[in-house]
Symmetry: D2
Subunit: 425 residues, 4 copies
């Protein structure tokens, strides 16, 4: 704390940290309206940012304002994120089949290069095999009662009305299906965990609306009256890493595996299966010692870049980037590598997938629109596997730093100071 406050008098610190009740500048106007005149009103609040307006509210962005209007409020323009193409990545899944060129949107140098290298070596190895192990998206409404016996009676009543819950839930949606209902009682509190399949949509809004319908049904019919009802009690794992995801699923749970012959590892990754496994073991325990959920390297990098390119909910990286990576040396001296991700909450319809460039990125993959969500989840798992192979190879070979140094710093022949602060894959 002292560093941050350095040079400030106690009075100045007090002044800065105190609440300030004077009037402030006006609220951003217009809410869901996106037409240029309203956008101009918003920029009028930012007189210091005229140059920024020229970039963010560029004519080509404003020209498409109607396209964006259903996905954003208080619209002021767009940011452009560069996209790189990795691959091909060969995926041998039940849904995904073939060689995929994967669009990755990121501002982090070396990220695309690393996944590209991993994808190439996976493909040379015959591709990765992927399997969807489970599907479902949960909502967890929470109910408070006067006492534990009432909580128990409520659960009993619910158990007898599951079919009515299903009817209520499914009346709100064409594609959502209520798949399972579970209960967690904690004293006089009850959390329901309603698990849905959501078709080709990632489905968070779908399951909220369906769950509200279940809550409404309960309010109308249940003789045990709760003192409070909340449509989500923070037990669904929404937007956060949670240990429960290994017992349940959030979106799709997918395993991907690949086998790399020894000479492939040596020639293309410049290391050996033994070194990669030594690193894997040490990093797995490093993860355990730091108190992570699951053991993995850097799923977040690839998933964030793919989600961003393809119109997925980027905030879901917080839960999607959890899983288990496992590497083994096989009897023939080759490398076995597998990843398992229980929280791949992705879709090919709805949300950001309808925006022009995001839909275009799905088209690059050949996975735009209905019928492709499972394949997209399998590609995500394959990409995570490719990334783990590449980064673990680099770390085990001692190339990690140099690769980043070269890609992030070396493109212009500047000294270290010029490129300081460049985050890396």
């Amino acid at each position: 704390m002292s560093d941050v406050a350095a040079g400030l008098s106690p009075e100045e610190i007090t002044r800065r940290l105190a609440p300030k009740h004077h009037d402030g500048p006006p609220r951003v106007p217009g809410a869901t309206r996106s037409e240029p005149a309203v956008v101009d009103q918003r920029w009028a609040l930012l007189p210091h940012a005229a140059a920024a307006k020229a970039v963010i509210a560029a004519p080509e962005a404003l020209a498409r304002h109607e396209t964006f209007a259903r996905n954003i409020e208080n619209f002021i323009g767009t940011v452009q994120v560069p996209v790189g193409l990795a691959g091909p990545l060969r995926v041998n899944g039940l849904a995904a089949q073939g060689d995929y060129y994967v669009p990755l949107a990121t501002t982090e140098a070396a990220l695309v290069a690393s996944y590209h290298r991993g994808a190439s070596v996976v493909t040379l190895a015959g591709g990765c095999t992927t399997l969807i192990l489970n599907e479902g998206v949960g909502r967890a409404p929470a109910f408070a009662f006067a006492s534990l016996p009432e909580a128990g009676a409520f659960v009993q009543w619910c158990l007898a009305h599951i079919e009515a819950f299903r009817a209520a839930a499914e009346a709100t949606t064409r594609y959502g299906r209520l798949r399972d209902v579970r209960f967690t009682v904690e004293g006089n509190h009850v959390y329901l965990l309603l698990e849905y399949t959501t078709g080709d949509a990632s489905g968070q809004n779908m399951v909220t609306i369906a769950t509200q319908a279940v809550c409404d049904y309960i309010a109308a019919h249940c003789p045990v009256k709760p003192s409070a009802v909340f449509v989500e009690g923070n037990l669904s794992g929404d937007k956060k890493a949670s240990a429960q995801s290994f017992q349940t699923v959030r979106g799709r749970k997918v395993s991907a595996e690949a086998r790399l012959e020894r000479k492939l590892v040596e020639r293309h990754l410049h290391t050996t299966p033994e070194k990669m496994v030594d690193y894997w073991r040490m990093s797995a325990i490093g993860g355990v010692l730091s108190g992570t959920i699951g053991v993995q390297g850097h799923y977040a990098n690839g998933l964030a870049a793919l989600f961003l390119a393809c119109g997925q909910d980027v905030a879901c990286v917080s839960e999607a980037a959890v899983g288990v990576t496992r590497f083994e040396v096989e009897g023939n001296g080759g490398l076995y590598a597998a990843v398992t991700l229980p929280n791949l909450i992705v879709g090919t319809v709805g949300g950001g997938t309808s925006l022009p460039s995001q839909r275009a990125a799905l088209e690059v993959l050949g996975l735009a629109g209905p019928g492709h969500a499972r394949a997209l989840a399998e590609v995500c798992a394959g990409l995570a596997l490719a990334g783990e192979l590449s980064i673990i190879a680099a770390l085990s070979a001692g190339h990690f730093t140099s690769a980043h140094e070269r890609l992030a710093r070396g493109r212009k022949s500047t000294g270290p100071a010029a490129s300081e602060g460049r985050p890396t894959a």
Copy 2:
């Protein structure tokens, strides 16, 4: 699994999942080159995606290809993400002072509206007070030895050479400072945790290069020879939620608090402090029951949108979106609300902050360039607080579903089917 495989014969399943060793299409060419001719070569691999090319490789994107070249490999164009403006958000920090209009890039309807509402109520309450509690970015090189006594001897040697480590590390960087060195011994393995301050950069690449220099120094001088050295042993919490972050820091650790008078809660949030605290308690325990790290609602939404707008590493949301939210009813009937985020790994120089639209977003905040990283971290914490207030108010008032339904579905008067699958804040 059965659902996914439905309708497939066992032979077909086997065929699909098997590795396939035929030749595939060519690798994406050109690596770090970004000029239009090379971009065209890449698109030539995607004949099915001509329409996508027109969107992603639009002329205005290609015209700036040199701008992007240092941040991406295998460049094929850009995606556009809509930006909404929330605020003003009044922040009373040591570094951040004043009323901020916050640019948020997202494709998720209702997200900006929710944070906007939260920011407004925080501002009406006199703003939020923020305090940076700790600063530092870690790298954790890992060393394997023949035995536990050698591991012990290595630690002893290191303890006597901390100053040499510092000199080696700091010779690689103008701004990075080695602040602390800690040790974790696990059998014959040793993990160092080197903690740096990184100035106004988020600093991941900076600390990797500095740590490589420490590893090189050790290799050259240490009499206890490791059997393996890895520049990162997965103990630094990089790109993943980890429990250790509450004992350490990753980037900046910031608390933000606000006090809302009772009538403010009632008038502007349409609920009461008691209901909000009831929800907070139930959701805190919901988080505990699901095995999360920390207790929080949806930091990920706001942080991902701010990171994306402002050129931060979006993958870091996996670690940044961890913290503790706490709400209490005060003696005067008002609401006390606080958030504490230990992993705000943000910067205002380097990385994606130098791209045009991302730098423009920082200019909207007034926080572009050197000298602003701490203020940006404080704004992040204030934004997270605003979001928690808004979402907990909505959930406690029973408005959560309707708000999302209205914003995500209601803009066009379509039935539910038309908007299916729209993910939400």
Copy 3:
């Protein structure tokens, strides 16, 4: 490390830590034999411990050697642990009904006094209500396969043979029932989670033997051949705290609640509901910040003492002492308190319950022998609640230190040095 090695030369350190391959003293003989002559042979290995023999191998212990022979190997005598009586504790459960005097075996001063106080106040409040929410004990055999598709095929085969698993398992036991089978696939590895009810036994051995029978059935009949089979893959939560226990159960999951009128708190606990809730909130967040599983205070103290008195497996405290404590101020100014423990793995038959003094302790409770396991689990939960009330009251009132000081130090009027090192409740 340096402190421990202080004063030792490097050579001496090396000498001490090195493996030593000289012959050692003989192994303890006799294995399962317990008769005095064999016990004497064992003590003959310990010539330095003649005084110890007189205490541990006292005549009254050796006289009962046949009693102990089925519960211990390499028998050398007994240790005596003092037992204190807490209560009465009024439990209003489905199984437990009435006022229980609870025997607690411990060597820690103040522990019985603290639980006794908590039990008394619970009883004054009309007792605690308890509810068994779930029952089951798991075993998790693990199977390795050549590939992910084989792992998938194995799961499919298992799903078609659950009834055969049930038959195989239940043929090994009179009381055990296979209740549920779940699957976790991780790459080419499959973990089954077999969940059993075990009647009035805690059942760990029962479920191991039943699970071995399932593994044998699989080995004999499954066309998909595993490369390795392990009867337990460390996924059952056996002897360790695990986050999954909030999604499953280990033994019995029980909630207990009590309501304390305001004046009861003030008169008997010398604090107020508000202060207790303030402490609860702060300690709940303290637990979160330290990365615990669940939020609780000191269940381990009471459970260990009750387990030890009553012949339960004391090592199971590692998993049993996990749960959620919640305190609230009610509308009438009183205190609501609840605990939920998902891992109460207790029994009233088998194991240590057949030993004389342990069975006697169960008789003190009125819960010895068949038909009482559920009631014992409810008493455990009630005891945990009593303990949390007592300790949180003491901490919130500022009496915690003085109570321990008085009980642990003050019984003889000695200065601090004389009582140093006395651990406390």
Copy 4:
């Protein structure tokens, strides 16, 4: 829930679960008094337990009542726990040196046999090397303030008064030393983490009293006045598994390692290093998937038995039984095995170590009284290693079930029903 309630009418369920305000039987009288007359008064409350009294309040137990009086309240007698002897276990530590016969008190058949086997094989391998990596016991007083700036000011003041804290703390104790002070700020709450060394005592009471003195000093001198102070804010990891223990220490942190030649594994453990490592890997991931802290098998079994024999606080098994086990196949085909336990909170003076049979058990080890706590911690780690080797060997060889079946069931040639419910190691 339904099973438990089976056969009960709704009215009967309601009746059973309701609070009951009638008078109950009297409270247990006498508190700290332990003389036979008072013991008799307590047994007079238990007329149904006359047979139990004869066992628990046996003459030899009552004859020693003064011995027990400082360790228990409401004394009613003793329970006897059988003790088995495992070993010799060769420990090559800085403190522990030589071949130890280890007394283990348990009621679980097969436990001593398993550790005995593990100890023997460790000894045949030249013993295990152990190293104490860290020492310290924490207390975490918690302070609430009006605001975050006050919390910050409080930390600043504390930082300037660490020496005064040290003086206040150390005035209360002859052996305790305040080693470190750290701070965790969460909004307007501050937790101090005071870390002490405690000599040869486990030290929980010692650090509580010393911490109270620090709190008293703060109350007397600090200009920033807290609204609440609690001597322990549940951040010290007391009596619960916590992820933070890998960043800190609770008691002593010890690693133990051993190397087993291939032929030793084959001859004595009837398996191979490869199979043991295969099992280790699968069980490590099993632990991760179930959300455990650390990765380990069954430390709890051996530690609970050793703690119980030697007068340690058995409830501390909940935190002590956390750590990391790692097995590797070495280049020469042998097995490398290591365990690391960060929370070995043990002592050789104070607490239960002064009771006759518990002190006798320490004498069996040769570790009774001052000067031996570090050696005891090293023996604990060596024992944990022995246990992991034995159990992983049994599981990898497929002998786990049969060993338990034989030891727990086979001693009398009875059918399964007779031995149902016997819990196992």
